[in-house]
């Protein structure tokens, strides 16, 4: 009994010194009724190199993802940081109620998981997971994910072609094909420029006019917006 406790203690000490690599099966499900996700990026990283940090200003790489769905900069950043990643596992958009899967082998020291994908149609909304500690115990873990606002663009709720470029106001696309036109633009008093929980879209009931190009019965959501299932092998 004593010896085995000792053995375990030694093993634990060894494990904490060089954190062991893990093999993960990942499954992401879009829980929403009317929101598409742009290409997902899931990274395993050390305690520093998260994809984003709530209540801080978004990096330009995150802004690029949140406003236009482009993950190239985040991928470059994560590569430079030595993160392990699953980039664009759905090979494009992840539609409402759909799931995608990926496997991820983590290297020593990459003990945290982060995830991002832009939510369409929104201005700079994204589904996110911020530094979730990967359990060392084998098993299946389910995490509910919330919608974040990158804080980099006013939520004017106007669908504008070409607005996926960072700094260009507007929603680049509504993949469901159910958005309107001719809105005058929502004037929001949201002055929070840090990454925060998205307050939700407003929409309106007039697809040809009104303030918003979004439909208030189709494009709203409640948290959680996605579910991530992690199987640690």
């Amino acid at each position: 009994m004593k010896t085995s406790t000792l053995t375990i203690a030694i093993l634990l000490a060894a494990a904490s010194q060089s954190t062991m690599a893990a093999e993960l099966d990942l499954k992401v499900t879009n829980l929403t009724k009317g929101i598409h996700f742009t290409p997902l990026l899931i990274t395993a990283h050390n305690s520093e190199d998260t994809l984003f940090e709530v209540a801080t200003e978004a990096s330009s790489a995150l802004q690029t993802m949140a406003e236009g769905g482009n993950i190239a900069e985040l991928v470059a950043q994560a590569t430079a940081a030595g993160s392990d990643m699953a980039a664009n596992p759905a090979e494009g958009l992840l539609a409402p109620a759909s799931s995608t899967t990926a496997t991820l082998t983590t290297t020593d020291g990459n003990e945290y998981l982060s995830l991002t994908a832009m939510m369409l149609p929104t201005n700079d909304g994204f589904v996110g997971l911020n530094s979730w500690k990967i359990p060392t115990e084998a098993g299946t873990y389910t995490i509910n994910l919330n919608a974040y606002d990158a804080g980099t663009e006013q939520n004017n709720e106007l669908v504008v072609e070409g607005s996926g470029a960072p700094g260009t106001p507007g929603i680049p696309a509504a993949p469901g094909g159910d958005a309107g036109t001719g809105g005058t633009g929502i004037l929001s008093g949201d002055t929070n420029t840090s990454i925060h929980i998205h307050p939700g879209s407003l929409g309106d009931d007039d697809l040809e006019a009104g303030n918003s190009d979004l439909s208030n019965t189709v494009h709203r959501w409640l948290n959680p917006v996605a579910q991530l299932t992690v199987t640690v092998k």
Partner: protein, 245 residues
């Protein structure tokens, strides 16, 4: 371990059956084994598990229809991302659960006696023959909506011991069988008293997803029969399952 357990339970069942004792007030630590009936080993392998469920409405202003509880071993009566059965469509559009409870793969199915208003709690008991794999599924409509419901698709209670309990909060789902128009004609709850179930109306998406919430006529949907008091956010209800036998 489990066979000893089973035997104990069968004895208990038998004791209860023979005495027809009205002693279900077993909140005290000890079940009623004070009467050691000596039984011949012709005991039928009929072990009954009983679960007592409390269901609390956490919404501001949504009545919840009578909670449906279905016990099953393999296939859940509803699953996220799939098309709702006609039974679930009926439940989610009108609150009526007879069809839903007649689910063919159900090992047992019960309904709470009535619906519950905001802030209220109801209790339901379900008894089912013990199984290797035993899951419970829950569903109830949010009355002042088109086709919103809440519940749990599947909760594994196979290893729940007598006296043990599980607590879960639930989110709002959209049955996908009706557009969320919120009109007086289509919302069956007390806010509107419109038509409930209509199998062919607006089955556009036809996939169970999370519910986006209601808009209301105070937040930009002029044709809505609902007010701000009918808005909800997750979680919508709390369900506590205690194995009582």
């Amino acid at each position: 371990m489990s066979s000893a357990n089973n035997l104990k339970k069968s004895l208990l069942v038998l004791a209860l059956a023979t005495t027809l004792a009205a002693c279900s007030d077993n909140d005290n630590d000890d079940p009623i084994i004070e009467e050691p009936v000596v039984v011949e080993p012709i005991v039928v392998e009929l072990v009954i598990s009983e679960f007592t469920i409390t269901f609390s409405n956490l919404t501001a202003g949504q009545p919840l229809s009578p909670l449906s509880v279905i016990a099953f071993d393999d296939e859940a009566p509803w699953t996220f991302g799939t098309t709702a059965s006609v039974g679930l469509e009926m439940l989610a559009e009108s609150g009526a659960n007879e069809e839903y409870l007649s689910y063919e793969s159900a090992l047992a199915a019960v309904s709470a006696e009535g619906g519950i208003g905001p802030g209220e709690t109801t209790t339901v008991v379900i008894s089912v023959e013990d199984q290797e794999t035993l899951n419970l599924s829950f569903a109830a409509m949010l009355g002042n909506t088109n086709d919103a419901f809440t519940g749990l698709s599947s909760l594994d209670v196979s290893t729940l011991e007598v006296g043990g309990s599980l607590s879960r909060t639930t989110t709002a789902y959209d049955a996908g069988t009706e557009a969320n128009t919120e009109t007086a004609e289509t919302v069956p709850g007390p806010a509107a008293s419109g038509e409930g179930f209509n199998e062919i109306r607006d089955d556009t998406a036809d996939i169970i997803t999370m519910h986006p919430g209601i808009v209301s006529n105070q937040d930009g949907l002029s044709t809505s029969a609902l007010g701000v008091e009918h808005k909800f956010d997750n979680p919508v209800s709390k369900i506590v399952i205690t194995r009582t036998q």
